[in-house]
């Protein structure tokens, strides 16, 4: 019981930190820190998405950059067409309205994830890792070689997309918007984890034979989890493109997939606030050490090594103790 309440405490602390820093930064006129916090929130959301597949389902997808990037391209393509006053392919009207863009990004990612998942989930272990990577690389090279939307150079978003009743061009409102979406993602994760679906999904990770022996085929459960996971990561991608006002194939690359996995391992896999803890440490490291040396990832690697060797529960496990199941 104490471990549970301690985890709640640590989680609350993380959220308070995430909110307090950009608000304080805005008050003292340092908008850069707001952008940093927004980056944390968005990367955390992307990792919350992956955490559904990886943390709950044990599906180590090394291809989630595909969904992150696709979400980003949806935002970029909508913005470009709206800016140029052209309709989208299939006669869809271009819009800069974020809710429409988010839904489109999630729908696209869900649709792409279904065939990728259906094929990949016929394998497991290292083959699953490799096949998800292969699919993501296919999409990456497609984006690189497709000139209509910038190809290798990427696509600029000249004006950040809009959200009703909010000035998204200002750093703080945009941060708060991203924070709101992150919180919604966290609520969704927690609901799924405690639900019948989550029970079946976690059972499929712990012992797929047991799941089949009560009459639930693991494949369908995993496929749906993979798609939902892709949708959340895709939503984060759309937010990320709007944050940078730029989307390029690098969002689709395997480095990005690896980064998302690192965030989860760093923070604590399968745990509600693991991705946020991981994203905070990652981004702060990138900022603090990145200013001193270009080789900051070497030091991140050392920390990751420490976590993997000595704190399997990640940073949350270290701070809040072992995870307990009901």
């Amino acid at each position: 019981m104490t471990a549970l309440s301690r985890e709640t405490l640590v989680s609350a602390l993380l959220l308070v930190l995430l909110v307090a820093i950009p608000v304080a930064a805005t008050m003292v006129g340092e908008p850069f820190y707001v952008t940093l916090a927004t980056r944390i929130a968005i990367l955390a959301l992307a990792a919350v998405g992956l955490n559904i597949a990886l943390g709950l389902g044990g599906l180590v997808s090394f291809g989630h950059a595909a969904f992150f990037g696709l979400g980003g391209y949806v935002a970029g393509i909508f913005a470009t067409h709206a800016f140029n006053g052209e309709p989208l392919p299939f006669g869809l009207a271009a819009t800069t309205s974020m809710p429409v863009i988010w839904l489109s990004a999630m729908a696209l990612c869900g649709l792409v994830a279904l065939p990728i998942g259906a094929i990949s989930l016929r394998t497991s272990g290292v083959y699953f890792i490799m096949i998800t990577l292969a699919f993501a690389q296919m999409i990456y090279y497609f984006a690189v070689s497709w000139p209509s939307y910038g190809g290798e150079d990427g696509l600029s978003i000249y004006v950040r997309n809009s959200f009703p009743g909010l000035n998204t061009a200002q750093p703080l409102p945009y941060f708060l918007l991203c924070l709101g979406v992150l919180v919604a993602g966290l609520v969704l994760f927690q609901l799924i984890k405690g639900s019948r679906f989550g029970t079946a999904l976690e059972a499929s990770r712990q012992n797929p034979t047991r799941l089949a022996a009560v009459g639930i085929a693991p494949f369908g459960i995993r496929l749906v989890a993979f798609a939902v996971s892709a949708m959340v990561t895709g939503l984060a991608g759309a937010l990320f493109a709007d944050l940078n006002r730029f989307v390029s194939p690098s969002m689709l690359s395997w480095h990005m997939s690896g980064e998302l996995i690192v965030l989860i391992i760093l923070g604590g896999k399968g745990r509600l606030f693991g991705p946020l803890a991981g994203a905070m440490v990652y981004v702060l490291f990138e900022y603090a050490l990145g200013g001193i040396t270009e080789r900051w990832q070497f030091f991140l690697g050392l920390i990751l090594l420490g976590v993997v060797l000595f704190a399997r529960g990640g940073l949350l496990g270290l701070l809040a103790g072992k995870a307990r199941h009901g």
């Binding site: 639900s195 976690e202 712990q206 012992n207 034979t209 022996a213 693991p218």
Partner: protein, 249 residues
């Protein structure tokens, strides 16, 4: 006589030159305990795997409640009413005993694609699950993760999960394994009453339990059923004595 619940007809399965299942025909009738015995390497596990759907037979048919099971995977067979336990306990180790049983209750209700309602406060899951734990005498350990249960408790939990499925037939693969005399005796008493809920195909090495429980016994040796009959018939069958029972009978 009514049609048997489970019927294997001329089942064959080879691994290379080894005939693991060599023309096995066997049936399980309503209300009975049918024990399957045989020395190590006789092909009992291979046979169980074929009934459950994790190994596909080379030829022959398996009919369950009149339906041909060919092409159905394990989950589909379980949904049709085949409840099984494993030779080596197979549980979700991180889940509590209660949640392991709740998983079976939820599967029986046929509704695993529900994403929002928390299971912990869902009385339609916790209620029946707790009842099953009480039936096997595990209610005091409901909150303990399966990984922290003793060997005997895990065997009990396996049975509770199978019960929660409300199956039309039970398939118990060495449920007494590693239980010790006291535990075996208790489980024997429990299974004795269970046959009235659903017939049991019992694979077991514990001969005391088999002789106490079985309505019929089939003896499997080198992939073939060499004898099927009542306890008395099997005890006195000279071929069985030679092949298997030795001095134990």
């Amino acid at each position: 006589m009514a049609e048997p619940v489970l019927q294997l007809s001329d089942l064959r399965k080879s691994f290379g030159a080894l005939k693991a299942t060599d023309g096995v025909s066997l049936d399980l009738r309503g209300g009975e305990i049918h024990a399957l015995i045989g020395p190590n390497g006789a092909g009992k596990s291979t046979l169980i795997h074929q009934i459950c759907g994790s190994i596909r037979p080379d030829s022959g048919t398996i009919r369950f409640l009149g339906e041909d099971m060919a092409g159905l995977d394990m989950a589909a067979r379980v949904r049709r009413g085949l409840g099984r336990s494993f030779q080596i306990s197979s549980l979700a180790p991180e889940f509590s005993a209660l949640r392991n049983v709740m998983l079976a209750v939820q599967a029986r209700q046929g509704s695993s694609f529900r994403f929002l309602r928390p299971v912990a406060s869902d009385g339609s899951l916790t209620g029946p699950a707790m009842t099953m734990l009480e039936r096997v005498g595990l209610e005091a350990r409901a909150k303990v993760p399966a990984a922290e249960l003793s060997h005997g408790e895990r065997r009990q939990l396996e049975i509770a999960i199978a019960l929660a499925l409300g199956p039309k037939a039970f398939l118990f693969d060495e449920p007494m394994a590693g239980l010790g005399p006291e535990g075996s005796k208790r489980l024997t008493g429990f299974l004795d009453g269970l046959r009235h809920e659903a017939p049991i195909l019992l694979v077991e090495h514990d001969m005391d339990a088999v002789f106490a429980l079985a309505d019929r016994i089939s003896v499997l040796v080198y992939g073939r059923i060499i004898a099927t009959g009542t306890v008395a018939e099997i005890r006195s069958d000279p071929e069985v004595r030679r092949a298997y029972l030795g001095d134990a009978a």
